[in-house]
Subunit: 340 residues, 2 copies
C-alpha cells in the first residue's frame, strides 16, 4: 500500500526523511484525509473545485493535517473525527494561501502559476471563503466544540498576523519582536492548533494537550524562520529552486532585519532603496544574498530556528515514549536540517 | 430607553416602519448585540477595529441580526445565546461585504467611501477573514452545534453564490434562472439562516424551524429583487441616492435581463456595448434607466419581489399569532413598499 520509498525503513539514518516516516505511520489516515478533502471541495459551481484543486493538488506536504493525524494517533484516539479535523486544517491552510497570494500579488505558489494569476483575484478570494466555510462544516461533524473553539481562535490570530505583516512590508524599522509576533501568529498558530486539536479529540489531559500545542508552536516558528532564511539562500538558487520572493515583495524578514542592523552606510542605502523606496534592479537579489550571508544574518537566523526546534523536541518530553513521538521529535530537527 | 420615534406607536399606519417596530420589540437585545459586536471586533492590531468599525458603524440596518433576535424572541427563547448568534450573523454579513467590495472594486458602501478604497484591498480581505473567524468563535460560545452547522453551511453557499455571480457579470446571456440561483445563494441564504438559527436555539419543532427558514429565504429574495430594481430607479436618483452601481459594474440583474429580452435592435446594441464590451459613456445610465422603465422591466421585477414577499408572509402562518409575528409579516410587505 505504501510507496516503495516509504517502506524502506523507519530508521533515522536511512535517507528517508522523518516526514515520510510519519506519513508511513498514519498512511491509511492520510489517504482517508485526502479522499475527504477531494470530496468536500466539490461544488456544483465548477470553478470552485477547479481552482481549489489547482492549489491542493500542487504537491504541498500536508504537514499541518499530518500533525493532526499524528497527534490523534499518538494520543490513542480511536474515533474517525481526526480525518475530518485533518481535512479541515488543510482547508484553513489552503484558504489562507489563496488569500495570501491575492494580498501579496504573488505569481507563483509551489512552483506553479498561482490561482490568482490563472483565475484572477476575485475567485481566489471567494474560493478561500468557500474552503474556510467547508472547514467549519467538517469540524461541526466531529461534534467537538472544543476543536471548533481552537480552530476558530487560530483563524482569527492568523488573520491578525497577516494584518501585522502588512505593517512591516517595505519597512526597515521593523523590529525582531514585531517579526516574531507576525511569525508566531501567521504560521505557528496553525501548527499549534493542528497538533493541539488532535490531542483534544482524544480527550487527553490538560498537560498533554499543552505539550502538543507547545510542540506545534515551536515547530511552526522554526519552520518559518528556515523558510525565511532559504529565501536568501544562494545554494537554493543554484539548485534551481525559487528564491527572492520575500525580497521582491519587500517583506522585512529576520535575515533582512539582522543584515540591516549590521550594515555599513553603503549597504544601508542599498537596503533602503531595494526594500523601501524602490526600484529594484536585476542584480539586487544577488547583492542582497551576499549581504545577508556576509553579515552572518543567515547563520544567526538558522541558530534561532535551531533553538525553537530544540524547544519543540523538548515539549514532547511530557508525552510517553512511542515511535510517533520519536518521529515528531526528528521532524523538528529535520525542519532545520533541510536547509543544509 | 427607546428613541422617541420608536416609542410613538406600534401601529402599522403611524409612519413608523415595521423594521423600527421590530427593533422596539427587541431593543434591549439589540443594544446587547451592538455592545458585543463592538467588543468582539477588538484586536491589539489597531487596523482591524478601525477598518471593521468603518463599515459596522456606517448605518447598516442590522436587518439580519434583527431577524435572529426576533426569531429567538418569538420562539420563546430564554437564554443569552441569541445575542452571540446575532452578533455572529452581523460579522458574517460584514465579512462578505468587505470581500464583495474588493471583488467588485466598489468605491462606495452605504454612502461612505468603502474600506477597500480607504485602506486598500489587502486589509479588507484580511479583516473579512478576521470577522469570519470571530463569528465562529461567538457561535462556539452558544454551545449549539446545530447553529454552527447552519451558519457554516450558509457561508459556503454564500461564497458559491458570489462565484456564480462572477459568471453573469458582463454577460447578457445570463438567464433568469441563473440570476435567481445567485440571489438565492448570495443574499437569501443568510436571511434564511439568521431566522432559522434563532428558532433552532429555542429548540422549536422541525416544522416551526422550517417555517422560519422559508420566511427568511423568501424575504431575502424579495429584498434583493427590490435592491436590484432600485439601482435603476430614476426616482431614487432624483432623491440623491446612489443608483447605477450594478450598471457600472456590468452586473446582469433581473431588470437588465428582462429589458434585454424585450429590447429592439437599437436597444440591444446599447446593452451589448454598455454591459458587455464597453466603454460606458456619461449618458448611458440615463438611457439604461429609461429602457428598463419603458420595457416594464422594473414593474416586472417588483411584481416578482411582491410574490416572494407574499410567500414570506405566508410562511409565518405556521407560527402562532403574536405581535412579533405580525411585525415580521409587515416587514415582508415593507421590503417591497420601500421602493414606492
Amino acid at each position: 500500500m505504501l510507496a516503495p520509498e516509504l517502506r524502506k525503513s523507519n530508521n533515522k539514518d536511512s535517507g528517508v526523511s522523518p516526514v515520510e516516516r510519519l506519513l508511513a505511520l498514519v498512511s491509511a489516515d492520510m489517504r482517508a484525509t485526502d479522499a475527504l478533502i477531494h470530496e468536500r471541495l466539490g461544488s456544483t459551481v465548477n470553478l470552485i473545485p477547479d481552482l481549489a484543486r489547482h492549489l491542493i493538488d500542487s504537491g504541498g506536504k500536508r504537514l499541518r493535517p499530518l500533525l493532526t493525524l499524528a497527534a490523534a494517533h499518538m494520543a490513542g484516539y480511536e474515533g474517525s473525527g481526526h480525518i475530518r479535523l485533518a481535512a479541515s486544517v488543510e482547508f484553513i491552510h489552503t484558504a489562507t494561501l489563496l488569500h495570501d497570494d491575492v494580498v501579496d500579488a504573488s505569481s507563483l505558489r509551489r512552483g506553479k502559476v498561482s490561482a490568482n494569476i490563472v483565475w484572477g483575484n476575485k475567485p481566489s478570494v471567494l474560493v478561500g471563503d468557500y474552503l474556510f466555510s467547508r472547514a467549519f462544516q467538517l469540524m461541526v461533524e466531529t461534534g467537538e466544540l472544543a476543536v471548533l473553539d481552537i480552530l476558530a481562535g487560530a483563524s482569527a490570530v492568523i488573520a491578525e498576523g497577516e494584518v501585522m505583516q502588512l505593517k512591516s512590508t517595505n519597512n526597515l524599522a521593523t523590529t525582531e519582536e514585531h517579526y516574531l509576533r507576525v511569525v508566531s501568529a501567521k504560521t505557528a498558530t496553525l501548527f499549534a492548533a493542528a497538533a493541539e486539536a488532535g490531542a483534544v479529540l482524544a480527550s487527553r489531559s490538560a498537560d498533554y494537550i499543552a505539550a502538543m500545542r507547545r510542540y506545534g508552536d515551536n515547530l511552526g516558528i522554526a519552520f518559518q524562520l528556515v523558510d525565511d532564511a532559504l529565501d536568501y539562500s544562494g545554494r537554493q538558487a543554484l539548485m534551481g529552486k525559487s528564491v527572492g520572493d520575500d525580497f521582491r515583495e519587500g517583506k522585512v524578514t529576520l535575515p533582512v532585519i539582522i543584515a540591516y542592523v549590521r550594515a555599513d552606510d553603503t549597504a544601508r542605502r542599498f537596503w533602503n532603496r531595494s526594500i523601501e523606496t524602490g526600484p529594484q534592479g536585476e542584480s539586487d537579489l544577488d547583492r542582497a544574498i551576499t549581504l545577508v550571508e556576509e553579515t552572518g544574518a543567515i547563520s544567526e537566523t538558522m541558530a534561532r530556528a535551531r533553538s525553537y526546534a530544540n524547544q519543540a523536541r523538548q515539549a514532547l518530553s511530557a508525552v510517553a515514549p512511542s515511535e510517533t513521538r520519536d518521529v515528531l521529535a526528528d521532524i523538528a530537527d529535520f525542519c532545520v536540517e533541510r536547509a543544509y
